[in-house]
């Protein structure tokens, strides 16, 4: 399991905004992942999309890594922000936009 954590650490170290999702930002393959992408795209945020459907280790590892059992998951500056519900709430309240500027 440890090398998956190293893989995840590397992704989070190299990218300030990482969305673990099903599919990719051009072709999301799940409604919640699609909603998460459109939120980030609407904010004009450049982000790293990690397609968990292409890597079973990451798909399971990320759920343990941040104690969050569902996909998508958004990380900003190596901190778990949440799933698409929390992203939507923060997007609507303007909190997500502020977080991006920080």
């Amino acid at each position: 399991m440890s090398n998956v954590n190293e893989k995840i650490d590397a992704l989070l170290n190299e990218n300030s905004v990482v969305l673990f999702m099903k599919g990719n930002q051009s072709f999301p393959q799940c409604g919640f992942s699609a909603r998460a992408c459109s939120i980030l795209q609407d904010l004009g945020v450049k982000f790293k999309d990690v397609n968990v459907l292409e890597d079973e280790d990451i798909r399971n590892g990320i759920k343990v890594y941040g104690n969050w059992p569902t996909i998508p998951q958004l990380y900003i500056n190596k901190k778990l922000v949440g799933g698409s519900d929390i992203m939507m709430e923060m997007y609507q309240s303007g909190e997500l936009r502020d977080l991006m500027k920080a």
Partner: protein
Amino acid sequence: MTANEMLERLKNSYPGSVVNVISDDNVHFDVVVESKAFNGLSRIEQHQHVMKVFDTELKTGEVHALSLKTKSI
């Protein structure tokens, strides 16, 4: 898992709280939990708290999508 089963489990997990479950297909669920149990918990911690109640079903995929609205009261 049906919406009713989810509701029952939430009622047991969060006695004396506001709990509501809406689902038209028993795969996608809209859940509201307003509970004292969330006092002092961040929004993420509140969601993690509720998802732990359905950890098995989330792992097996029996519950595919859980939309959560939580609030401490």
